[in-house]
Amino acid sequence: MKILTLIKLTVDVSQLKYEKDGSPLVEIAPNKMGDSDKCAVEEAIRLKERYGASVTVLTVGATRDHERIIRDAYAMGVDEGYIIEVEEYQKLQATTIGDIVKAFVEKTGPYDLILLGAGSLDTHSYTLGSIISSKIGIPIISSVDSLSYNGSIVKAESVMEDGVYVFQAPPPLVITLTTEANEPRIPTLKTILKSKKMEVKKLRLEELGVKPRYVTIEDVRKYFVERKKIIIDAGEDLEKAVETIYSILKMEGLVK
C-alpha cells in the first residue's frame, strides 16, 4: 500500500500577539505541524505497522520550519518527505495547492490513500481534501473522527450537525481527519536522532508544471468587540450576581 500524507506549517493561533492597530504579528508567532495533520500522519503510520505501507509526506512552503515539520513526521515513522518550494506559500489559493498535489501524485503515485487534516487553524479553508478529490478523481470521505481498515474496506465515522455518518469504501480514497481521530504518538529519542539524518527532498513549482494563483489580501485585523467587562463575584455576593442577571433580563423585557 502507498500512502501520501499532507502536512502544513501552521501558526500556533493560541500564541498570536497583536500590533496596537490590531494587525496580528504572524511573523513572530510560533509555528508547528497542524494538529489534525499530526493525526493524519499517525493514522498513516498505524496502517503501515498493521498492513505494511510506504508513507510519503508532502508540505508546500519554503522555510526552515517546513524542514523541521518533515523531520517531525520522520520521527513518527514516515519514510520519505518532500517540500514543494513556494516563497509566498501563505497566500496560495487552495485550488493551487490542489494542482500541486495532483502534479505530485502524477509524478510519484498512484497512492491508495491520501490522508490530510480536515482543516488547519490559521489560514484554513477546510476544503483542500475535496479539491484534491475532484482534481485527481478519487472519492473523498471528509472530517473523519474515527477510521478503521480491514485490509480491503475503509470504514469512517464523522460527527455532523444532524448525527453520526458512517462511510464505507475501498481505496483509493482521499480522507480528511479531525483531531478526534487518534492520539498522535510522541517520538522517542532514538527516532528523533534517526530523523535528523534522513534526506528531505525538494521540488520547485516549475518542476511540477504548476502556475500559482494567489489570494489578494487587503487587510487582516483582530476580530474583537469591545465590551463593558463589569465583573461581579458571585462567591462574595450571590444575591447581587443573581439580581444583576435578573435586572438585565427584565430591562430588555425578556422576563415573562
Binding site: 475535496s130 453520526v164 458512517v166 461581579i232 438585565i248
Partner: protein, 305 residues
C-alpha cells in the same frame, strides 16, 4: 450576476437570500429534496432539486454541477458547514475556480468581490478580493428575509446518482428550539457535568420571552446533548442577550456570539478568556447561580400576578 446556491437546509436557504440581495443578482437554488425545493421557491426565482437521500458529497456535487453546467453562475454559494464545505471543495475543484470559506460579509465593486472572512481560528477577520467566477462558503447566520408570496419555478433533476461510497446515518435526537430571531440565547458549555443538568437551561428558557438555548461544540458534537452549536463550525446568532454558562470563550466559539448586543457570562474561573468578551462577567459556580436565578424569576412572577 448569476448566483447559484446549494440549499442545504431551510434556515440556510432563508439566510442565503439575504446574502444574495447584498450581492444583487439573479438567484438559482439546488436542493437535495422536493420538500426543501418547496421552501426555496418562496425565496428563489428558479429551484432545481434531486432526491439526494443520505448525504454523500460526490453524489450531491454531481447534481449541483449539472445545474451549473446549464446556467453558468458567476457566484456559487454554500454554507460553511462540514457538508457544505466538502461539496463546495469538490465543486470548485471540478470548475477550477477560486474558493473562499468562512465568509462573514460580502460586498462587490463591479465584478470584483470584496469579502470578509474569519482567519486564525476566529481571532481575526481578513478582507480579501476575488474575481469571478468564485465559490463562496458563508458562515450561516440566523437572519431571515421578509416573507413573500413569491412562487419560483421548481424542476426535478433526473440524473444518475450512484457512487462508490456507501453511507448510513445515525440521526441525532432531541435538541433545543430554533435559534433564529431569539432575543435571548442561553449557551451551555462544558461547565455542565451531566446531560440532565441542562434541564436548568431549559427551565430558564421556558421562563423567558422569545428565548432559545444552544451549546458549545463539544456538548453537541462529542456528547450529542444538542442538535446545534454556536461558533465557527456551527451557527452564528445575534440576540439582544447572550448568556454563556460554563463556557470558556475560545475564539472558535465566540465568533458565533460576537454580534450579540449584551454578553453575560457565568464562569467559575476568573481568568477564563470570556472575561475579556463579556459585558457582565459573573464569577461563580453555575450550579449555585442558575437555580437562584430560576427561583428569582419564578417568585417575582407569582408575586406580581
Amino acid at each position: 450576476m448569476k448566483i447559484l446556491c446549494y440549499g442545504e437546509n431551510s434556515e440556510w436557504i432563508k439566510y442565503s437570500r439575504i446574502i444574495i440581495d447584498k450581492l444583487g443578482g439573479y438567484p438559482y437554488c439546488v436542493t437535495p429534496s422536493r420538500e426543501l425545493a418547496e421552501e426555496s421557491s418562496k425565496y428563489f426565482e428558479e429551484t432545481y432539486f434531486f432526491n439526494g437521500g443520505v448525504y454523500e458529497p460526490s453524489k450531491y456535487c454531481r447534481a449541483i454541477l449539472e445545474v451549473a453546467g446549464r446556467i453558468f453562475p458567476d457566484v456559487s454559494l454554500f454554507p460553511s458547514t462540514i457538508k457544505g464545505r466538502t461539496i463546495a471543495g469538490l465543486y470548485a475543484g471540478a470548475r477550477d475556480e477560486s474558493i473562499i470559506t468562512d465568509i462573514v460579509d460580502v460586498d462587490h465593486e463591479d465584478s470584483v468581490l470584496k469579502l470578509k472572512r474569519l482567519v486564525y481560528g476566529g481571532s481575526c477577520i481578513a478582507t480579501i478580493k476575488s474575481t469571478l467566477p468564485a465559490t463562496l462558503c458563508i458562515t450561516p447566520g440566523t437572519q431571515k428575509p421578509p416573507e413573500t408570496s413569491r412562487k419560483g419555478s421548481i424542476e426535478e433533476l433526473r440524473i444518475s446518482l450512484e457512487n462508490r461510497i456507501t453511507v448510513s446515518l445515525n440521526p441525532r435526537v432531541g435538541g433545543g428550539p430554533p435559534l433564529e430571531k431569539s432575543d435571548l440565547v442561553v449557551a451551555a458549555g462544558r461547565g455542565f457535568k451531566n446531560r440532565e443538568d441542562l434541564e436548568m437551561v431549559r427551565e430558564l428558557v421556558s421562563l423567558t420571552v422569545n428565548s432559545a438555548w444552544s451549546v458549545t461544540r463539544p456538548l453537541a458534537a462529542e456528547y450529542g446533548w444538542a442538535d446545534n452549536w454556536i461558533g465557527i463550525s456551527g451557527v452564528t446568532v445575534n440576540p439582544r442577550i447572550y448568556l454563556a454558562v460554563g463556557v470558556s470563550g475560545q475564539p472558535l466559539h465566540m465568533v458565533g456570539a460576537r454580534n450579540s448586543k449584551i454578553i453575560i457570562a457565568i464562569n467559575k474561573d476568573p481568568n477564563a478568556p470570556i472575561s475579556q468578551e463579556a459585558d457582565y462577567f459573573i464569577v461563580g459556580d453555575l450550579y449555585k447561580i442558575l437555580p437562584k436565578l430560576i427561583e428569582k424569576i419564578k417568585t417575582t412572577k407569582t408575586s406580581s400576578t
